[in-house]
């Protein structure tokens, strides 16, 4: 099993190797010539290969943004599909450089795994999907229902908490992958399927008849989805973190993929600092000063990536909601570039 393989690799590395020193991630990635990114592989809108085999998705685009910042080429990324079970082991053992796989930031994951959560790219929450035929309009009516869930996720824990605090009986059926869980839900093995709300919309698209299924209105938890890196290399963490922030700042300043070349000639001091026309904001990160320009030119700003992958320009049609800019009532806020 893949998880056992990566766990044994981790054990071997820990037993007979010494820990890599800090501030070497960027050098290692540049030497390798490509970024290795942990992705989902089966989640529509976030990380999935298209029929031609090219990786697409919101989390995928984030990794491509990091690659654009380093190499000025968003295709210099290798994607490794990971299940919920082996994603952290793969990152801990050094198999991947960054994990961009709809991973929720929690206290225990931040403190006891030796990992850092660089930036919240998507504010999400957990929901339920049921068949319309059950005539259920609220999650509170699911007393004694069977619920399919993916093993080892925060969804599994939140599910138990929610049903317990509402004094409802619960039968959980857990599966190793989200795909198996959805298949079991579709076959009628369980009444409801639960995962992050964004994932529900994505999985619904893959069902035989999406119109027969409805997502219930309740959001039962906070799921801040974040990119994850290893402890110990602050420069690498900064690169990942600020890649997200420049994309948010670019949307705030009105810089997009289409107009980024014109914006190079702009008089606005913030835009000039963002695109590297003024200031030396790339060198402390080990990158060129126009690294943010590279990100916007190849990937676009946060809003463009959102709409293209999971928003109105995609089959999922998720509204910005909490992921709107802070100026529009959402939570996406980029610290100033200065």
């Amino acid at each position: 099993m893949k998880c056992l393989g990566t766990a044994i690799a981790l054990a071997m590395a820990l037993a007979f190797g010494t820990q890599a020193a800090s501030a070497q991630m960027l050098a290692a990635v540049k030497e390798r010539g490509e970024l290795i990114c942990g992705a989902n592989g089966t989640l529509a809108g976030f990380g999935i290969p298209d029929p031609q085999g090219n990786w697409t998705g919101f989390d995928v685009d984030f990794c491509r943004a990091i690659a654009a910042a380093i190499f000025n080429d968003p295709t210099k990324v290798k994607f490794l599909p990971l299940t919920a079970k082996d994603r952290f082991t793969a990152l801990q053992s050094g198999e991947i450089d960054v994990l961009s796989r709809n991973t929720t930031w929690t206290l225990s994951r931040d403190t006891s795994l030796g990992l850092d959560f660089a930036a919240i790219t998507f504010y999400d929450g957990q929901g339920f999907m049921v068949r319309k035929a059950l005539k259920v309009s609220s999650a509170l009516e699911l007393n004694d229902a069977s619920v399919c869930v993916q093993q080892g996720t925060t969804s599994e824990l939140n599910l138990a908490d929610y049903f317990r605090s509402n004094h409802m009986g619960l039968k959980t059926v857990t599966f190793a992958t989200g795909e198996d869980a959805v298949k079991a839900y579709e076959s009628g093995r369980c009444d409801a399927y639960t995962t992050d709300s964004s994932g529900l919309y994505g999985e619904r698209l893959h069902l035989a008849d999406p119109s027969q299924h409805v997502v219930l209105p309740e959001i039962i938890s906070k799921e801040p989805l974040s990119a994850v890196v290893r402890h110990g290399d602050d420069q690498w963490t900064d690169i990942v973190r600020w890649t997200h922030f420049v994309m948010v700042d670019a949307e705030e300043l009105g810089v997009s993929k289409a107009n980024v070349n014109e914006k190079l000639k702009s008089d606005d001091p913030e835009t000039r600092r963002l695109l590297g026309v003024e200031g030396q904001y790339g060198e402390p990160l080990g990158l060129t000063n126009d690294w943010a320009y590279r990100v916007i030119k190849h990937i676009g700003n946060y809003g463009e990536s959102f709409e293209r992958n999971v928003g109105q320009g995609s089959p999922l049609k998720i509204v910005r909601g909490l992921n709107a800019l802070w100026t529009k009532g959402g939570l996406q806020y980029g610290p100033p570039i200065r």
Partner: protein, 395 residues
């Protein structure tokens, strides 16, 4: 070297100097391995601490927080610990392994002997079964049985009600849960007494047969002891048994004993797969019995059933038991494929969910491997004891 060999052939031990050298070398190798292992373990602990990855078994008593779909002991998401989840997973694995071993042995023996039958159709069917099942990977067979089992069962709306109050649908098989009355202990005691008495009776009958050749028909007395005695106790203590019948609700069936379709699919797949291998092992054992034995048995006038039971199988067991042990161990290890169908066995619960929640992959995987090792060594020990107990004393 030649002297040592000649010496041991004649019954003399090798010369003292040689023996000392050999012992010293073995001690040195053990010490080197011990030092390497100790160094590796301390290195792991140090590296984990330096990378700020939590290590040790401190997580054992933390609240689990997740639900398990089949628990043979009391377990609750809010109050049970990860340690309790470990025991739940372990018991589920033992359940699957136990049922699988028993059923696979029975089916394997039947198919193995059927393959040796003189009936052409029976032999070919058994041969076809063995060839097909042995050559398809177990994971594929398991997924096949899971989907076949699930797809053929009705949805909750169309549940089949079985005579006796059971309910069958694709959530599982729900049987009436027995509830023990006050004097049920007496029935259990009667059952134990009956089993012991039956064992004694079999021993006496066998000794009589070996002494005088008279084959006592003890089937009905045995049955009377094992079944009749507890039954009599049951009647005399006033039928201390009632059943709580499962009820179908809006989403699920409540009450009653629940048998998950995942368990059914796993047992089915493991049984059918391992039985194919056991069939070949049994066939090899039977063929290993020398032809002279069979001819002698036929000359004595034994029919094929009695010949099989009294002459062939006891001698065949010597050849069957070691590979049979291997097949049992394979079955126990293959039960970890429960991950693929969502059955909460040890690997799924502990080396899956608990590993992901706590992030401590080294400890959980190491403990899971140690548990499988302990189970396998235990089965191997039992089988070797059985083999020694039933071995034919050679002259």
């Amino acid at each position: 070297m030649t002297e040592a060999i000649q010496g041991s052939v004649q019954g003399n031990p090798p010369r003292p100097a040689r023996r000392f050298g050999s012992i010293a070398l073995q001690i040195a190798i053990v010490v080197v391995i011990g030092v390497l292992a100790y160094g590796a373990i301390t290195n792991v602990v140090q590296n984990l601490a330096r990378a700020h990855i939590a290590s040790g078994f401190g997580f054992w008593n933390n609240t689990a927080g997740f639900d398990i779909s089949q628990t043979l002991i009391a377990y609750s998401a809010s109050t049970s610990s990860f340690g309790r989840a470990f025991w739940v997973g372990l018991l589920n694995t033992l359940l699957v392994a136990g049922i699988g071993i028993v059923l696979a042995t029975v089916l394997g023996f039947v198919v193995g002997i059927a393959k040796l039958s003189r009936n052409w159709l029976v032999a070919r069917l058994a041969g076809g079964y063995v060839e097909l099942i042995r050559n398809v990977p177990l994971l594929l067979q398991l997924l096949f049985w899971y989907n076949a089992v699930l797809k053929s069962l009705p949805l909750l709306r169309g549940s089949v009600t079985l005579p006796g109050g059971g309910i069958l649908n694709n959530r599982g098989l729900f049987l009436p849960r027995p509830q023990w009355g006050p004097h049920f202990g007496i029935v259990v005691v009667a059952l134990i007494v009956g089993l012991l008495a039956a064992a004694v009776l079999r021993r006496l009958a066998r000794r009589r047969r070996e002494r005088t050749g008279e084959d006592l028909r003890i089937f009905w007395p045995l049955l009377g002891l094992v079944v009749g005695l507890p039954l009599a106790a049951f009647v005399l203590t006033g039928f201390p048994l009632s059943f709580s019948v499962p009820q179908a609700g809006r989403f699920n069936v409540s009450g009653g004993v629940e048998i998950l379709p995942e368990l059914g699919a796993l047992v089915l797949a493991l049984t059918i797969y391992t039985a194919a291998f056991i069939a070949e092992v049994v066939r090899a054992g039977v063929l290993a019995v020398s032809a002279g034995q069979i001819e002698a048995a036929q000359a004595l006038g034994l029919r094929s059933g009695a010949m099989l039971r009294l002459v062939v199988l006891p001698q065949a067991m010597r050849v069957i038991i070691p590979p049979l042990t291997s097949q049992y161990l394979n079955l126990i290890k293959n039960s970890s494929l429960a991950v693929a169908v969502g059955y909460p066995d040890l690997v799924q619960v502990f080396a899956g969910t608990v590993l992901n929640i706590t992030g401590q992959s080294v400890e959980t995987i190491a403990l899971t491997m140690a548990v499988y090792l302990a189970m396998s060594l235990f089965i191997a020990l039992l089988m070797s004891l059985y083999g020694r107990a039933t071995a034919i004393a050679e002259r």
